[in-house]
């Protein structure tokens, strides 16, 4: 999928929020949805499926209007976190320009975090994409939970962020870190376009 179309003068970024179940991906989208003026955003689509195994994701289109003469649109997706929805995850991941990995900061969720991260890598590979080339940022969500239940961002970096990508502590429910994350991934995606390669 072409990120920047110079003939129609459009920029379309597809950003996928990835992570284990109940880590707060949809919460991220809901927060963004609430902050975007109505004229700028499309209807947020949450597909909770016909049968229990196919489509199941959230979709939020945002229209950023004309930027440098380009009609700029962001499409934010979340994948279903539950392990058994991998087919859907793979589908949603297709053609993604950037990935936000939303991790659960709770110490007891560390294994799920790791498993999901590996799943991301293998699903990208299924699409013939090397995880090292995809713009990626990490968000450590639920940092508002009591200290004793969670790992610090530094600890999570050590555990999950072996690529050293930008990472953000967040409290998606209250909006902390949500836009920082979105901004960061947008920059990475757009910079990648500046480097002249389209995803």
């Amino acid at each position: 999928m072409s990120l920047v179309n110079f003939t129609t003068r459009e920029i379309t970024c597809k950003i996928v929020y990835y992570g284990p179940g109940r880590s707060g991906k949809t919460t991220n989208l809901h927060y963004v949805y609430g902050r975007v003026p109505e004229s700028r955003r499309g209807r947020m689509v949450s597909l909770a499926t016909q049968t229990d195994r196919t489509l199941f994701f959230d979709f939020l289109p945002i229209d950023l209007g004309q930027i440098s003469g380009f009609a700029t649109r962001f499409q934010l997706y979340t994948v279903p976190g539950q392990v058994y929805y991998n087919a859907t995850r793979r589908l949603v991941l297709q053609g993604a320009d950037g990935v936000v990995y939303v991790g659960d900061s709770q110490a007891r969720q560390l294994d799920e975090n790791l498993e999901s991260l590996q799943n991301l890598q293998s699903n990208l590979l299924e699409h013939g994409v090397d995880v090292r080339t995809v713009p990626l940022v990490m968000q450590y969500n639920k940092q508002d939970l009591p200290r004793e239940l969670i790992l610090t961002p530094a600890e999570l970096d050590d555990a999950l962020n072996f690529r050293g990508v930008p990472s953000f502590p967040a409290d998606a429910l209250h909006g902390q870190g949500v836009f920082e994350t979105l901004k960061s991934i947008s920059e990475l995606v757009l910079k990648k376009l500046a480097a002249g390669s389209t995803a």
Partner: protein, 653 residues
């Protein structure tokens, strides 16, 4: 049936912002050069963003710059109505004529063409006619041509063939500027911050923005007190965040402010990033594409660059593209001077086809359209000379030696068949041998026909340019100009230019110019101003030489007796000699005998040669009108009887 232009809708009252700058610039260009810049100009935008305003502004501006222009503004619905009314009244042709004669046609809301096949066909015809005549068309729509449902492919390509520009929603600054200007127009004054508050609301179009202003004006008038920013917010039902009420989900004002900021901050950041990305090579390419596309050049080569991930040497590619375009421009200008019609060729707009453009230019330059050259069938060497034409011949030699200097113009006068055309072409051929010479040599009839064709094809400029290029102009049978006023006019101008440039002019005429009827005085006097050289009836020497040539052409070895016999025969023109020789040669071939003087006499005089005498009562020239043909051709008739001396010699034989 046609709307008049609303006097308020001018460029002066149009607020220009980033979202509509391109459209306005294009509009101004079109108003300044209707028909030549972007044709058609297609403007699209959402409802209420100023399409109609811009369209009318173009009309006003064009009218102001050139008041004589016939400008029609109408909406598509009006056009359709007018068309239906005209058809109903049986005035379909008058309707078409009326629109084909406008200099600038401004049609609003063409998206309503959907599902109107017959109107599409009508508009297609009109667009074609207007474009061909170089008349401007400006169209507006709420969507680009390709998105108008059910629109004929040919219309889509026509509409897209000029310039398609869109106008977006005005940004905040533009909104403020619009509100200020409109408030000023209404004589309404607001406290600082009021208009800014209204501008802060992201209305989807300017009309709603005007609605907001109306509310503010009305509120202020009713309450008799100046409204402030806070009150304005209430009037407009705006939550503090800057979005109309009902959109904001924020609970507390502070949170709302921060959330509003959060998104706009994000937007700013993205803008900066995109800006950086777009400033990179792609932006330069895109800019070049836009620029040259705007000038009407094909940009496929540049667009291809954008398909690459990281093409090498982008700037070089752009530079070479520009270089090619400059070359095309030069070629186009050059060709334009020679043949304005050919300059319109689209190869001059396509840097992909440089070679073709060069070839086309070369074709125009050297040969596609040179003026007709002298015929190679009339070399000077084969021109028979004698006392009857030595004045003309020596004048011709003088002209060949010093074209334009000595006898200019040279007018060769003589009856038909004396070799005027031969001498004219011979002069032309000799002149052509000079370096850089372009000799135009043709019959006056062809000259007239060419001009008529040029007028018919609207190529008169090209036609003129073609002859102006010539270094010598040789016209056969100038008397045919009689009654051709336009050609005389053109010739007069050419004449003067040739004389000014010391370029040679040679004409032939059957009689002295002052005896020719139907020629304008100014032409006659100019013809007389040079040398009028007469060619008399061919003398014996001329006949002898001419016969030698003619017999040579017939592949007959000229035997001296035959030559003498034939040359001694009186004749009034060289051309009739050809007829005589032909008769003899054919008869000889039929009888399977060699061509001899005896045979010739037998054939020509119709009697056995031996001792035969002509009966005195029957005088013939020896030329018998063919009984099969039965046509009394001048060439085969004897008009002037041989002189007594000639007859004596004949009698002695």
């Amino acid at each position: 049936m046609t709307s008049t232009l609303n006097p308020k809708f001018t460029f002066e009252t149009f607020v220009v912002g980033a979202a509509n700058r391109l459209a306005v610039t294009a509009g101004r260009t079109v108003a300044e050069n209707p028909g030549s810049a972007y044709n058609p100009l297609f403007i699209y935008s959402g409802s209420g963003l100023g399409k109609t305003h811009l369209l009318m502004a173009i009309g006003h501006s064009a009218k102001q710059l050139a008041p004589q222009l016939n400008i029609e503004y109408l909406t598509l619905d009006e056009y359709v109505e007018a068309f239906h009314a005209a058809i109903a009244a049986g005035q379909g042709d008058a309707f078409r004529r009326r629109f084909q004669n406008v200099d600038a046609l401004l049609v609003d809301d063409v998206q309503f063409l959907t599902n109107r096949k017959e109107m599409q066909a009508e508009l297609l015809r009109l667009t074609e006619a207007l474009q061909q005549a170089g008349h401007q068309i400006v169209l507006t729509s709420d969507r680009p041509p390709a998105e108008i449902a059910d629109l004929d492919e040919r219309l889509i390509s026509r509409f897209s063939g000029g310039l398609v520009v869109d106008m977006g929603v005005p940004d905040y600054e533009t909104r403020v500027a619009i509100l200020r200007r409109k408030a000023e127009e209404r004589g309404a004054r607001f406290q600082p911050g009021v208009l800014e508050t209204a501008a802060g609301v992201e209305f989807p179009n300017v009309r709603e923005l005007m609605g907001a202003l109306n509310r503010l004006v009305a509120y202020q008038a009713v309450n008799d007190t100046p409204i402030n920013a806070e009150a304005a917010r209430q009037v407009l039902g705006v939550a503090a965040s800057g979005a109309p009420a009902g959109l904001s989900t924020a609970a507390s004002p502070t949170a709302a402010v921060s959330t509003g900021d959060e998104f706009s901050q994000f937007l700013t950041d993205v803008t900066v990033t995109v800006g950086k990305a777009v400033e990179a090579w792609r932006a330069r390419v895109a800019e070049a594409v836009l620029r040259w596309e705007g000038e009407g050049y094909r940009t496929g080569r540049l667009e291809k660059l954008l398909d690459h991930d990281s093409p090498a040497a982008v700037d070089e590619a752009i530079a070479s593209y520009i270089h090619d375009v400059e070359r095309l421009k030069a070629l186009e200008a050059e060709v334009g001077a020679l043949d304005p019609q050919a300059a319109g060729d689209k190869v001059f707009r396509d840097p992909e086809r440089m070679a073709e453009a060069e070839a086309e230019a070369a074709k125009v330059r050297d040969g596609a359209a040179p003026p007709p050259a002298p015929s190679g069938a009339f070399p000077l060497d084969s021109y028979a000379f004698g006392s009857s034409n030595d004045v003309a011949l020596s004048a011709a030699r003088a002209v060949i030696d010093a074209p334009g200097k000595k006898y200019n113009p040279l007018v060769l006068v003589g009856r038909s068949g004396l070799g005027k055309t031969h001498l004219l072409n011979a002069i032309g051929l000799e002149l052509m041998k000079k370096k850089g010479a372009v000799v135009a040599c043709l019959s006056t009839q062809d000259f007239v026909d060419e001009l008529i064709a040029a007028i018919d094809g609207e190529r008169v400029d090209w036609w003129r340019a073609r002859y102006r290029r010539a270094t010598a102009l040789l016209l056969d049978d100038i008397h045919l100009l009689a009654g051709k006023d336009r050609t005389q006019e053109e010739l007069f101008n050419l004449f003067n230019q040739f004389m000014d440039g010391d370029r040679q002019l040679v004409f032939t005429a059957p009689a002295h110019p002052n005896k020719l009827e139907g020629l304008e005085e100014r032409i006659v006097s100019r013809l007389e101003g040079g040398l009028v050289a007469e060619i008399g009836d061919p003398d014996r020497a001329v006949r002898h030489t001419a016969l030698e040539r003619i017999l040579g052409q017939q592949k007959v070895t000229p035997d001296p007796a035959l030559l003498d016999y034939l040359a001694d025969r009186p004749t009034d023109s060289v051309r009739s000699l050809t007829g005589v020789v032909q008769r003899v040669v054919e008869a000889a071939a039929a009888q399977d005998q060699p061509v001899t003087a005896g045979l010739a006499r037998e054939i020509l005089e119709g009697q056995p040669a031996a001792g035969a005498r002509r009966t005195t009562g029957l005088r013939t020239s020896g030329l018998v009108v063919s009984s099969a043909g039965g046509v009394r051709s001048r060439e085969k008739m004897v008009w002037d009887w041989p002189s007594a001396a000639d007859r004596v010699i004949e009698d002695l034989r």
